[in-house]
Amino acid sequence: MPGYPRLVHAAPYERQAPCPGGLQVLIADDDPTSRAVLRALVERHGCTALCAADGQEAVERFLSEEVDLVLLDVHMPRLDGYEAARRIKEAAGERLVPVLFLTALTGERELVRCVEAGGDDFLTKPFSPTLVEAKIRALLRLRDLYETVRRQRNDLDYYQQRMEQEQAMAQAIFGALVSGACLEVPGVRRWLRPSARLCGDVALACPTPDGQLHVLVGDFTGHGLMAAVGTVPLAETFSSLTRAGAPLERVLEELNRRLHRLLPTGLFCAAAALEVDPRYRVVRIWNGGLPDLLLWRPGGVLERAPSQGLPLGIQPPQRFRAAFRTVAAEGGLRVLVHTDGLSEAEGPDGSLYGEERLARAAADGADPFQAVLEDLQRFLGPTAEASDDMTLVEVDPAISWQDRCGCCPKRPAREAAEGWTLTLELAAGALRQADDPVGVLLAGLERLQPLEEEHREPLRTVLAELYANALEHGVLGLDSAWKRDPEGFARYYEERGRRLRALTAGWVRLRCRFEPRPGGGRLVALVEDSGPGFEHAQVPASGSGQLAHGRGIALVQGLCRSLRYLDQGNRAEAVYEW
């Protein structure tokens, strides 16, 4: 029969077992007979007995040995039991070392003093061995239970610390990934207050190569890590497409497509996007699921731009359409965007901040951004804790960011000044009558940028093929498979003429953007039509074979640096370089 059972999970790593045979029990009694009796009792159960003749010795032995349990006489020379218990408990610190008082006293006051001194239980002398044994067992059980709880608490502390470390690291990584967009753009002010280390709100701004500014404010469902995960693809896609010159609707379509594919159902991103165009002094606004945007003008004039679409990541790509509102960037306009964490912030009394109060604060004063933040601070009080991520962004479209955005790779100013865009739009009437719209466009291009002979023809081919496709397939709905045989070939072009003469709706837009390059240039031709598009994923890489149709795309691919179809296939973008 082994000694007192030891719980196997009682924090073995914290104690180098000094007596493999069992536990160490400290016996302190000035009466040698009592000591001998207790020693025999303890040793019979496989424990090691450590004996002390007074309180002082008991404390010293406790400090120099690993003790699991203390049996303490109350009355001893040099140091009595009460004081010894106090010092032993103090020395034990967090560890529970049960102290069992042995006393001849029976008065209530003495017993209370025992407990107050740190005693866990007491036994009155003369004691019965059976009772001593039972009490020892009970105290050791208590000690084991206490150790288990302490160890579990330590584990929890450890995991908590580890999680915080991991989150701090994730925060750094997320920060680096999300800051791919420009963080500090003149004219854009941002205030962001995360409720946890990782934030599901995101506010990005990035200039386009054409000199516009794209701003995106997003709020992912939830907060913390779950919400923060989506911010990385969002920021990455936003900045790379914007820098590549994609128009804002295209950026939003791609964001929706990526988030729809990446995020599980139930996780999405309410967002608002702005495109500031300083040349035409307009701001285009899209709001998908964020609280009303506030259009502020001096004198407290406020207009609202409510949500007009679903958040990003909910609709399948083919159903997503971004509807814009265009606002004149005049009269001191500023646009305020906030996430619902701000309008639903809770004050000390449990009330919500609310969109009405926010609008009132914004209308009041010359600096709506500052006014809202100050009012919010008053509302929240000094010690408020955020329960959701909060974001406030102000865009002032009158401030020029172009020369002062420190984040973007600087393009030579001369180059930007020399680039241009030429757009030719043909509505139904013009499509009917136009003899050679591509020739008209080319003549315009050449007036702006003289072309070498060797590039004139290929450029004509590229534009003519893209225009022919846009008109014939996009607007007129002709199927090029007809051209398979001579009769079909003739019929195709007769039908082309017939449909074109009867055309009353539809359009084709040819947009050429020229960027100078050292010793040459780059022309980005974007050809769009009003048609339903086509499955451009099935466009073959090159049109070989001997069919009489389907060669146009291959020709363009052969001549251009790149050709891609956007959206449903009703936008073709070809890049020609020399």
């Binding site: 060797e454 004139r456 023809e457 290929p458 004509r460 081919t461 003519a464 093929e465 022919a468 051209k483 045989d485 001579p486 070939f489 003739a490 072009y493 082309r496 049109g543 070989s544 001997q546 069919l547 009489a548 149709h549 060669r551 146009g552 291959a554 020709l555 052969g558 001549l559």
Partner: protein, 100 residues
């Protein structure tokens, strides 16, 4: 823009001379220039005065080749300026036609 057709003296080769923009507007004229010919005739398409060639022109050339016997056809494209030659090359037409 016109297509001039001249039969050689031996009556075995027909020369189609394309002038101006060689694009879809020419499809009828181009086809009429050969569609009543007897089989076995050889063709030469003279592109020296063709100022431009688009993908439907490529289609028209393929239809001519088919009329002339498909893989056994003798169709030669001549007088190609560099820009025209480049388009023919991109379309891999040197595998189907003799390009001079």
């Amino acid at each position: 823009m016109t297509v001039r057709a001249v039969l050689s003296e031996e009556g075995r080769t027909k020369v189609l001379r394309v002038e101006g923009r060689f694009d879809f507007n020419m499809h009828r004229e181009f086809r009429e220039a050969y569609q009543d010919d007897p089989p076995g005739l050889a063709y030469e398409v003279d592109l020296a005065d063709a100022e431009y060639l688009d993908s439907s022109a490529l289609g028209m050339l393929l239809l001519l080749r088919e009329h002339a016997g498909g893989d056994g056809a003798r169709v030669r494209l001549r007088g190609c300026r560099p820009a025209v030659r480049r388009i023919l090359e991109i379309a891999n037409f040197h595998e189907l036609f003799e390009i001079a």
